[in-house]
């Protein structure tokens, strides 16, 4: 099965290359058949990736430990659910999952837009196929999830990190991923528009919905990540400006900016260069985010391990994207000129523009601060780091300005707002803000930054309510119905606008939660039974510590009594769980007492069973639940905005597959439907449950990664990763060799002499004939690229004889007939 999987990946790679080459050639020659075959090939990749995903999931379910990846991320005792989700638990599988998602999205996007945006489709196919091909290339030559153990297959897997065995972790990564991958589609359409020069608003209409869905899924992923950090990691917060978190946030900023600036282009035909740029930047940031979490460029608490080779490949890919994309933008600048100038700064488009600048600045700032340690090391040789306080110092004002704009923009008119208008619109929201601010001052809330945030929340809410109210009144007068019906009618008539306002309301709620963080209180104490401590208006008493075991794990639970304002309000049970075979990585079970106004959050990081004492980390998190609640409102608003204008008008336009692609496409649709449930499940980030091995010198650490364990049962695991007893003694032996002052070469020679072959080496010696083995995959990749280039150029060149009218007649007639039929169809559609 593993061989089949590997072959399928390779085949998919070839098919992608074909799809790209055929589409480009088809578009340049104007050959409908080549274009169709390119589309068919793209559908085929979806089918192939579905099969490949099926194989790996099957391997996980049956526990096929001949596959390294399966052995690394699952074991027999894992519940079925987590066995399936282990698919995206590690680096290799997550890349494969990425390709799978992209192939599915690509197929859907192409099939829904095929008839309407015919001129763009070949390039859309080509760009999606090339992106898929890049990730497939990574897998085929460097990170193949179907790699098997050549000899000595282990009988049991290593298991997924217990921290990841929880429902949030099952949904969080795939939803982030889906959001990331979804952003490829707008990019593909944007680039197709640039390449073809069809730069009217058609491509925007094609991708608007995609961007909205991807944005929502990305937001969902980020929120789930926060909830996971909050409930599982037990450090008392939900966002720590960790590089991996930031990687998810970066494209979110630019996608948000894009969703706003699209409206300006539609209404006023402005900001066209800007929109194309935003799409490109968003796509690049998703690739960059993937790169950052997977290459070990930045040190992060939850990055996948370090992988230099992967880093180089990603760098090359990203530079290529940047050069080609922006090259086309510059080339097409004459076509992208705005039709209008900004009339006045007191206009809605100006507010949108400012909102865009700030969002882009936020993205750039987060990018800069995330990369700062790496940058400073590269530039000055000194590694300087910046912590969360630095991020907060900048992001708090940025967030507040954005919040203000959320309230201001809807009050401004397009083009120009008159003074009378301004007064009329701003009167009530400003009054609400002033009233709210006065109440807050009276209550003694500090002005910066929570006070301002709360006051702005009043302002934005009032401005949104006013919008709904005025709209509903106008409609009520016009239709003569009651207010509620008018309100529903209003939302129904302009779903995107009013859905957007509801999203804004959700943002306001989330901001309430963020502001609450300013009132956080925390305490770390060591308590003995009977002792108590006071945090805020809560008092916590330790009653004792208890040990229990449920077969899968050992649990140490603290028994606490909690009092609020002197009254007993109940018991809380923070705990630590030690899973079998993961005793070194206990999980922290946080005890949380939730309420609308605040959470009491208790962690027991350590305990002493002898004297029954426990260390406790007690946190009061005010208003934190409003963040999650805000997300629910955001989802509701986006759902409304997404509802089709004229329900399912796009579905009414029947897809007509040309005969050539017929069989593949129908097969593919069946398979897509079969694969859809898998989409609804999810994926993850990475675990890597290695036993802590401390190397004392860099040489020793390096050697532990070059020598494998020779016990014969672990299946050629690296010495730094193997946990068997022989590995322990081998590590000791290695430490001795290093301490004797031997060089790397001497140590390698020692092992070769000892075992009589190169067997103990993790990879063949990089010398002489062996070097061929290293170079081979690269040669293959480079050769493939050259081949694709040649083929594309060759195909797109007309045959020398084809230009003369008599020679063209015979071969082109079939094509022409097909073209004519399509033209007829299109004309009929127009009627």
């Amino acid at each position: 099965m593993a061989t089949l999987g590997a072959i399928i990946l390779l085949t998919t790679f070839v098919v992608c290359i074909y799809a790209a080459a055929a589409s480009i050639a088809g578009a340049r020659r104007g050959s409908g058949r080549l274009i169709d075959s390119g589309v068919g090939a793209l559908y085929l990749t979806t089918a192939l990736m579905t099969v490949a995903s099926g194989i790996i999931v099957h391997a996980f379910v049956v526990g096929d430990y001949t596959i390294k990846y399966v052995q690394h991320y699952s074991d027999t005792v894992q519940p079925l659910f987590y066995k399936i989700t282990s698919y995206w638990g590690g680096l290799d599988g997550s890349i494969m999952f990425w390709v799978f998602l992209l192939s599915v999205f690509g197929a859907i996007a192409v099939s829904t837009n095929r008839e309407r945006h015919r001129e763009l489709i070949p390039y859309v196919v080509a760009i999606i196929a090339i992106t898929e091909a890049f990730f497939l290339f990574l897998m085929v030559i460097h990170r193949n999830p179907f790699d098997t153990f050549l000899a000595q297959v282990p009988a049991e897997g290593r298991g997924l990190n217990p921290l990841l065995q929880n429902p949030y972790m099952v949904i969080h990564p795939p939803s982030l991923y889906t959001g990331f991958v979804g952003m490829t589609i707008p990019y593909a359409f944007g680039m197709a528009a640039l390449i073809t020069g069809y730069l009217d608003d058609a491509w925007l209409r094609a991708v608007r919905r995609w961007t909205m869905v991807s944005w929502l899924v990305l937001t969902f992923g980020l929120t789930l990540g926060m909830i996971w950090a909050y409930e599982e990691l037990g450090w008392g917060g939900y966002w720590g400006w960790d590089p991996v978190e930031n990687a998810g946030l970066l494209p979110w900023f630019t996608a948000t900016a894009f969703l706003h600036s699209v409206i300006v282009q539609e209404r006023r035909a402005m900001l066209r260069v800007w929109n194309v740029t935003l799409v490109i930047v968003t796509f690049m940031l998703t690739i960059f985010g993937t790169f950052m979490t997977r290459s070990g460029v930045v040190q992060s608490v939850h990055a996948f391990g370090e992988d230099r080779q992967l880093a180089y490949m990603f760098t090359v890919f990203m530079v290529a994207i940047a050069v080609i994309s922006f090259g086309f933008v510059i080339y097409r600048l004459p076509l992208l000129r705005s039709r209008h100038e900004l009339d006045s700064w007191a206009s809605r488009e100006a507010a949108f523009l400012v909102n865009n600048w700030i969002l882009l600045f936020a993205a750039l700032f987060v990018l800069f601060a995330t990369m700062f340690p790496t940058l400073s090391e590269a530039l000055t040789g000194q590694r300087l780091t910046v912590g969360p306080p630095f991020f907060n110092k900048w992001m708090a004002p940025i967030g507040l300005i954005l919040l203000l704009l959320t309230g201001v923009a809807p009050l401004l008119a397009w083009r120009k707002t008159t003074l009378a208008n301004l007064r009329d619109e701003f009167l009530w929201p400003t009054a609400a803000m002033a009233g709210g601010a006065a109440a807050l001052l009276a209550a003694g809330v500090r002005v910066w930054s929570a006070g301002i945030c709360f006051a702005l929340c009043f302002f934005v809410t009032a401005s949104i309510v006013q919008e709904f109210w005025r709209g509903a009144r106008v409609r009520q007068e016009g239709t003569g119905t009651d207010v509620l019906t008018a309100l529903i009618g209003l939302v129904d008539r302009n779903k995107r606008r009013y859905g957007g306002y509801i999203v804004h309301l959700g943002i306001v709620l989330a901001f309430l939660g963020f502001a609450g963080d300013g009132f956080k209180r925390e305490e770390q104490v060591l308590l003995k039974p009977g002792q108590q401590t006071t945090v805020g208006h809560f008092m916590v008493r330790l009653d004792g510590v208890e040990v229990s075991d449920d077969g899968q794990k050992q649990m140490i639970t603290g028994h606490l009594s909690v009092f609020e304002d002197g009254k007993a309000i109940g018991h809380m049970y923070p705990a630590k769980w030690f899973f079998r075979r993961h005793e070194e990585e206990p999980t922290t079970e946080v005890a949380i007492r939730r309420s609308i106004s605040e959470d009491l959050y208790i962690v027991m990081p350590a305990s002493d069973l002898k004297d029954q004492s426990a260390s406790l980390h007690i946190v009061i998190n005010p208003l934190v639940n409003w963040i999650w609640f805000g997300f629910a409102i955001i989802a509701l608003g986006t759902g409304i905005a997404l509802m089709p204008e004229a329900a399912f008008s796009f579905a009414a336009a029947r897809l007509r597959f040309p005969e050539a692609a017929n069989t593949t496409t129908s097969l593919l649709i069946v398979m897509m439907l079969a694969g859809l449930p898998a989409l609804l499940r999810a994926q993850h980030v990475e675990s890597g449950t290695t036993v802590p091995v401390i190397a004392r010198t860099p040489l020793e650490r390096a050697m532990q990664k070059k020598i494998i364990c020779m016990c014969g049962t672990c299946g050629r695991q690296l010495l730094s990763e193997c946990s068997c007893s022989l590995a322990v003694s081998m590590r000791a032996e290695l430490a001795k060799l290093v301490s004797e002052g031997r060089t790397e070469q001497q140590i390698v020679d020692y092992y070769i002499a000892k075992y009589g072959s190169q067997e103990p080496l993790a990879s063949p010696i990089d010398r002489g004939f062996n070097r061929l083995a290293w170079a081979f995959p690269y040669l293959l990749g480079a050769g493939g690229l050259v081949l694709v280039g040649t083929v594309a150029v060759k195909w797109s060149r007309r045959k020398p004889g084809a230009d003369s009218p008599d020679a063209a007649a015979a071969p082109a007639s079939a094509e022409d007939a097909a073209l004519e039929a399509r033209l007829d169809d299109e004309l009929r559609d127009l009627d």
Binding site: G234, W235, S615, I694, S720
Partner: protein
Amino acid sequence: MQSKGLKIALTTVVLVAAFGGLLWSTLRDGTEYYKHVDEVMTQPDAWYGKRLQLHGFVVADSILRRRDSLDYRFQVQNKGQVVTANYSGIVPDTFKSDAEVVLKGTLTHDGFAVEPNGVMAKCPSKYEPKPGALGPKGPGV
């Protein structure tokens, strides 16, 4: 047309300068140097009072804890250079003898003063929770 170009250029210059200045001034007090113990301790005078992230290994059996408290005193070494560190609070599970750690804090004449939640144990496990999230089960006293 020319005046518009000039306006845009001027605005850009002013904005970039303003943000650059702000960024520079906030960076100065927001950053910490990331250093190994030996880099710092060979010339400690240069580092007194500066915010550091200190990378090193916990000296075997050097961890002391004051009875019934969360006050720790331990030694960290790298390439033969040793520094004593003081910390009050909860330490991660993986904080034990010989563990590779990164400490946040400042160097004082009394040793290295670790700030709250400033002990991060590096663990070969690639997927790690937030530093400071997991407490000690290692040696006490």
